[in-house]
């Protein structure tokens, strides 16, 4: 079992997301994350999908996706150079002044933006790789008791000349 990535071009129609996600639940595939949005062609949406599976199951997933009428193209991103980022909001609550100081330092080290601030809370807006986001969450957890996390799932595009995942 390892994480694998798929870019999926689908018809931008009602029910397509339900159909794709239904395949994963119906056949017990282990869906890790799925993001979707329209592309430069507004009739087409592109999904970035992460699944945890073995080789045989992954082959099967790609075939099953491919045979859906609404699926236009399946691209296996697992071993492709690409740029992949995930948006994440992290709110640290009930901060003392010292806590805030520390959040700022962490923000600086992770190169993320402080998007909002209040009397005793700070909001970080992160656009990092998924792994880096995991590390950030782990760090915040170890330092602060009251945090709130919202993650968007990864979005990926194939590289031109450099890559980052």
């Amino acid at each position: 079992m390892k994480n694998r990535w798929i870019a999926l071009y689908v018809e931008n129609d009602v029910g397509v997301l339900a159909k794709v996600s239904g395949l994963f639940s119906g056949k017990s595939y282990n869906l890790q994350s799925l993001t979707v949005g329209t592309t430069e062609d507004e009739t087409v949406s592109r999904m970035t999908i992460c699944v945890a599976s073995d080789d045989i199951t992954f082959e099967q997933i790609k075939k099953q996706l491919n045979r859906m009428v609404e699926v236009i193209k399946v691209i296996d991103l697992t071993n492709v150079p690409l740029h992949m980022k995930e948006i994440l909001f992290a709110k640290v609550l009930r901060c003392t002044t010292a806590d805030k100081e520390e959040v700022f330092q962490i923000a600086q080290v992770f190169d993320v933006q402080v998007a909002d601030i209040g009397k005793d809370s700070v909001l970080l807006e992160c656009k990092l790789t998924e792994r880096r986001n995991n590390e950030l969450i782990a760090l915040l957890r170890s330092k602060f008791r009251h945090i709130e996390i919202v993650r968007g799932g990864a979005v990926a595009i194939e590289s031109i000349s450099t890559s980052c995942r």
């Binding site: 029910g15 159909k19 075939k63």
Partner: protein, 573 residues
């Protein structure tokens, strides 16, 4: 000039060459029904239940190769089709099912008879869509027929909101449609096929495993040629039965859970397994680790997703069965397989398919009677013991078709499927082999059969039990016959272990049932009456006939492989 959606609907069907619709009315389809009233090209068949409606369309489609067209109303009309659609999906039967829907503006309001039928059937249709604008109606109907009949066929559902049916719009029905995400496989990879051919050529003990794809692809003739030229024995799956005439010298029999002993051993012993049009269902493979353990496997299927899913194969080939076999036939050269064929014949002699002949009527005798009575026609089955006996003992040739519910195993399938097949083939004898359990699941269709002048012959094997499950209880559950005795009533003792002489009478009386509908009824209790009963049934062309064969309750389907065991480990007696 603009026309209403309902008018375009009928025009589309006419342009698709539809001659029969299986339809059940309701609030959300009254408009298209009204439009059908005004024309004479398309016959509307009124079943008595929407599940049976789909099975009738399946029988129609399987017996003609045409798309079966269904029309039901929203809500319960639509949900009643679900079992049938799943059945068609599993067995790759081309259907287009139109469901009425509440007007667009009411969708989502929990309106009367509103259900999200597209959502409910997403995993059991090849494609499903709600028509959301009148402009798209023609294109969507065209797509539906195209998707249903091409590639690996299957059911397509088109949900028609009431207001779309009434809305005026474009009168044009497109002649073709291009779908960017749907390009069925049309060619065949010659390089892979060459690899496959080399493998078969070098084999000492080659075996062909033919599935339903051979029949769907109309490749029986090509398969026969390949087997004959290269002298390769053939086994079939349940759905592949008929791919080679059952009397053919190279035909061994069905393989799988209730397959023929020699067929299963041949799969275990072969060194090259040439499989075509099968998805290696668990009923065929048994324990996957011990499936065809000595063989290199070639797998040809039109569906990419069927390949290397259950069984990892050595030479995968995505292709239409007919195309691939035609190409192989160009290269095929005779092989010496004499010893291998003799070995298989010896296995068959060792454990032939044979039931006792010493006391009373057996299912085998009924099947032999049917074989003798019909040398052409269509045979449908329901699901259960009688179905397995039929797959074991019914003989098929080029003029006989066999229609059964293989993948989903839907009780209630056989009788309506026969009615649908008879409607499509009035000149052919249509025989439904069924059991007393499955027949009761859709026997209301007797009204349809009478009304639509579809005089089918129902061969009902009555063993007074849900026999397939009873068999499992008998063999694996200490004869605890929970919920399988169809004579059981509240007055029976709680821990009944089988008939004891004081059992309540069987219900219903199928002879009275036949009479109630104006059908013929014949009851057969002894093997000596079989031939005469079938001859009598054949003579009735005015109405269906129910022949009830009273068979023993404890008759088993043998041989059998217990689920999860290797196919070579068969229970023979």
């Amino acid at each position: 000039m603009d026309i209403t959606g309902r008018k375009l609907f009928v025009r589309a069907l006419q342009e698709e060459g539809v001659d029969t619709i299986f339809g059940y009315p309701g609030g959300m389809v009254t408009d298209v029904m009204d439009e059908l009233y005004k024309q004479q090209d398309i016959r509307l068949v009124l079943p008595r239940h929407e599940q049976a409606l789909i099975h009738e369309a399946e029988g129609y489609a399987k017996s003609t190769g045409k798309v079966g067209v269904c029309l039901v109303t929203s809500g319960p009309g639509a949900t009643n089709t679900i079992t049938g659609l799943a059945d068609a999906h599993y067995d790759n039967i081309p259907l287009v099912c139109f469901t009425g829907q509440v007007p667009l503006g009411l969708i989502g309001n929990d309106a009367f008879q509103e259900v999200d039928i597209v959502g409910m059937t997403r995993s059991i249709t090849k494609y499903g869509v709600t028509v959301r604008s009148r402009r798209e109606l023609g294109k969507i109907i065209k797509m539906a027929f195209h998707i249903a009949r091409t590639g690996k066929p299957g059911p397509v559902l088109v949900d028609l909101p009431k207001d779309i049916q009434l809305m005026p719009g474009d009168a044009h029905y497109p002649q073709s449609v291009s779908i960017r995400g749907y390009k069925p496989n049309e060619g065949v990879h010659v390089g892979q096929l060459k690899k496959a051919y080399k493998l078969i050529k070098s084999a000492q003990r080659p075996l062909i495993l033919a599935g339903g794809g051979v029949l769907l692809g109309n490749a029986q003739e090509e398969l026969r040629r390949l087997a004959e030229t290269m002298r390769i024995p053939v086994v079939t799956t349940v759905m592949g039965k008929g791919a080679l005439p059952s009397g053919h010298p190279y035909y061994i029999g069905n393989s799988g859970m209730h397959g023929r002993y020699a067929a299963n051993i041949a799969v275990s012993e072969c060194d090259v397994l040439f499989s075509i049009g099968t998805r290696f269902n668990d009923r065929i493979t048994g324990d996957l680790n011990e499936f065809a353990p000595k063989a290199k496997i070639v797998h040809i299927d039109i569906d990419t997703a069927a390949i290397s899913r259950n069984v990892v194969v050595d030479v995968p080939i995505v292709a239409d069965a007919k195309l691939a076999l035609e190409k192989l036939n160009e290269w095929a050269e005779p092989k010496n397989t004499k010893r291998w064929l003799e070995e298989i014949r010896a296995l068959d002699k060792e454990n032939p398919l044979e039931m006792r002949r010493d006391k009373g009527m057996t299912p085998q005798m009924v099947m032999e009677g049917i074989n003798a009575a019909f040398d052409r026609g269509i045979i449908t089955t329901d699901v259960g013991q009688h179905q397995m006996w039929a797959t074991q003992y019914i003989e098929l040739n080029e003029h006989k078709k066999f229609i059964t519910s293989g993948g989903l195993g839907t009780m209630g399938f056989g009788f309506p499927a026969a009615v649908g097949a008879k409607i499509a083939n009035p000149d052919q004898p249509v025989v439904c082999i069924t059991g007393d359990g499955g027949f009761q699941m859709n026997m209301q269709e007797m009204a349809t059969a009478i009304a639509e002048d579809a005089p089918v012959i129902v061969c009902l094997l009555n063993n007074q039990y849900l026999g397939m499950v009873r068999q499992m209880q008998q063999l694996f559950y200490g004869k605890r016959y929970e919920a399988t005795c169809l004579r059981r009533r509240t007055t029976c003792p709680p821990n009944c272990k089988g008939p004891n002489g004081a059992c309540p009478p069987y219900l219903p009386d199928f002879m009275q049932f036949a009479k109630a509908y104006g059908a013929h009824g014949i009851r057969v209790e002894r093997e000596t009456e079989i031939a005469a009963a079938l001859a009598e049934a054949k003579s009735y062309t005015d109405a269906p006939t129910v022949i009830e064969f009273l068979i023993s309750s404890d008759e088993l389907v043998l041989p059998m492989v217990q689920g999860g065991n290797p196919m070579s480990k068969m229970i023979l007696k």
